[in-house]
Symmetry: C2
Subunit: 409 residues, 2 copies
């Protein structure tokens, strides 16, 4: 049995019109009017597909398809929100492939043993409201709902998650997590170049990397670039450059076991003829191995402390994010691998470099993810693209894995 690829691609294109940006891109920020439009369409499509739709108090949408047995449903889905100037696949693919899966089962009049649950999580991207992966975070019981509902918009302190949920009509009455899941599958684009480079059809996602984000601010002294002798300078920019170089080399010497990135740097006063008094930069450290992750953070912190002290400067350090790595159970990844195999697709067991709802759901029920190739690894970008054939393959693997899991043996 296979999904209807044409219908899925048409549906992806239909959602891509809601918040269309650029040639093929989408901008559909969580809890915006565009998000509401996409949610309304999904709700109607869920109802048309015979699902019973539940909305929880954080706006998470769960559509239930009954099974032969009244047990916990096998869940699958992702999110409909995007980043600013985002793509049409990141999020929507997992939701719409899930819908397609149900439409296919309906057409073939197949009733699964276990019920099925199609999920659209609220605010995975965290563009206007912190934290990201918000809906799954709460659904999995990892944070307090009320404090999240009060979380203000980055760009407008008068708007909160709660007020925006009310405004778009998605403040539901179900307690998040009230419907327990037998398992959770998430089909997603890789958002990296590996599958395409290695000509692999399917990524069987075994783990999600842990992520540590830290912001450093090096404090020196602003001085005239022409009149201040070198021995008198406290050049925050020079010190920061040494730290950035160390961080760049750190990951290159460890051949991918730990990824370290400096993505943002700001100088002050940032003038051509003034020695900078402050240099602020961010550090993104990721690894699937928590020990390596912690060691990297510690070694980098030590280097920063020593270097700043040697240079006679001072620094501040702000921890922004600390997510531990997540390992998906073999019993889950094996269902994905078997589905890929039986479809004659080649696959690669791999980690996810990005964060996803599935890593939160892993704390709630057995979970895993299915990756398809991203052209040139481009994502979080209006040019994000995956080939139609890969979209089809991914949806068929999702179908196969869900059918495997939903059978009561």
């Amino acid at each position: 049995m296979k999904i209807n690829a044409q219908r899925l691609l048409q549906n992806l294109d239909r959602y891509a019109q809601i918040g269309k940006k650029g040639r093929i891109g989408v901008e559909r920020i969580a809890l915006s009017q565009e998000d509401k439009q996409a949610r309304d369409l999904l709700k109607n499509q869920m109802i048309d597909a015979g699902l019973k739709v539940h909305i929880d108090r954080l706006g998470n949408m769960i559509g239930i398809r009954k099974g032969k047995s009244d047990v916990k449903p096998v869940a699958f889905g992702s999110h409909l929100d995007t980043v600013y100037s985002g793509g049409r696949y990141d999020g929507a693919l997992g939701v719409l492939a899930g819908l397609e899966l149900i439409q296919t089962l309906n057409e073939k009049q197949i009733e699964t043993d276990k019920p099925l649950a199609l999920v659209n999580f609220t605010n995975e991207e965290g563009v206007r409201f912190a934290p990201d992966m918000m809906g799954s975070h709460i659904y999995a019981g990892m944070a307090d709902l009320n404090s999240i509902l009060n979380s203000p918009a980055y760009d407008n302190p008068n708007e909160s998650v709660g007020s925006c949920l009310h405004a778009i009509g998605y403040f539901g009455d179900m307690k998040p997590g009230a419907i327990e899941f037998d398992a959770y599958y998430e089909l997603h684009i890789e958002q990296g170049p590996v599958l395409e480079l290695e000509q692999i059809n399917i990524g069987v996602v075994e783990q999600v990397q842990g992520i540590y984000w830290t912001r450093y601010r090096i404090n020196g002294e602003a001085n005239h670039a022409g009149t201040t002798p070198v021995y008198y300078r406290k050049d925050a920019g020079f010190t920061a450059a040494k730290l950035q170089k160390y961080i760049g080399e750190y990951t290159r010497e460890r051949e991918g076991t730990v990824l370290t990135t400096v993505g943002s740097v700001k100088f002050s006063p940032d003038a051509i003829n003034i020695v900078p008094d402050t240099a602020t930069f961010t550090l993104d450290v990721r690894s699937t191995d928590e020990a390596l992750l912690k060691r990297a953070q510690k070694e980098i912190d030590e280097f920063i402390e020593e270097t700043v002290s040697e240079d006679g400067l001072s620094f501040e350090r702000e921890e922004l994010v600390r997510f531990s790595p997540v390992r998906f159970p073999l019993v889950m990844t094996d269902t994905v691998q078997s589905a890929a195999k039986s479809l004659g697709l080649n696959y690669k067991r791999m980690p996810s470099g990005a964060g996803h709802d599935a890593q939160m759901m892993a704390h709630f029920c057995p979970s895993t993810m299915i990756f398809i190739p991203s052209v040139r690894g481009i994502s979080h970008n209006v040019e994000e693209y995956s080939h139609d054939e890969d979209v089809e393959n991914g949806a068929n693997v999702l179908l196969g894995a869900v059918l495997g899991r939903s059978a009561i043996s």
Copy 2:
């Protein structure tokens, strides 16, 4: 003979009220209403002091005091304009000490052999209109007046130097450079920490450093920090960090013979979880030795080219400023040194790290500068400060040097 320190300090304070900013600072942008007010006050004070005032077509103000002989006047002065959030000494000191010198000679009824010329140059700072040192640039015949008059404001393309000169009533009828000078002296604050650190009263300025400004843009590729393997990255930020570190070490290894500074750095897209696709940074290179200056620029350019190429990236390079070093003649610096000596002040022969009108005037007539200590080297800042005693010493040295030069032997 000495100047009247109290009168000079009071006059400095009077001008500091025009565009007052902060506790003791000033913001008096060239060709602004504040500049007009300060110019009007100076014009009246020049007339009161018996000077014949000439305004040239770029608004440069020259007040002539007759001498016993009808020869070229000995000139001295500086500028009344400031940077945004500037100080009360940078520029105004040289003009007002010159005025004080004339008032002192008037009181003592002393007629010098050569005539004297007090000068206020237009737009030394170049805050709203390029280039800086504009008035002296044109007075010395180093650029075309008409193209400078058409130079638009950075912040408003509808305003030009010419239109603003008309608006404040300082578009004069004298051809710039029409009054030739026997010599040009400029008293100025050091704007660096050296005199204060070494407890020196007077800087005898032998040279002005050459200045090269260049902007580099390193081009890489934006990629997800979590999903992009190291071997696939084109991290413009990492490459830029290596270049910045090299530039910082370059000057430190050369112990002040060449100063190199990276004052401005910008990443794009400048996000914590995105490998930056571009890193733009500026290079400020200075030296009193043109050969060293050129070699530094060449060696840094070569290192940038090699490193960027090794990293598989590309770069662009934009030359912003190329000023050659200027050496002031011994016959001029010796008059300053003698004046300091005869006042019992200690002095240091030193270069100027910053650019000044005197470096332009050096192409027009024998020129030099006198520096007094800047507290903590702070300048281009509302907290710019020099002790009253140093202001007094500087003005007395100016008086002594001008008297030395104005005698016909």
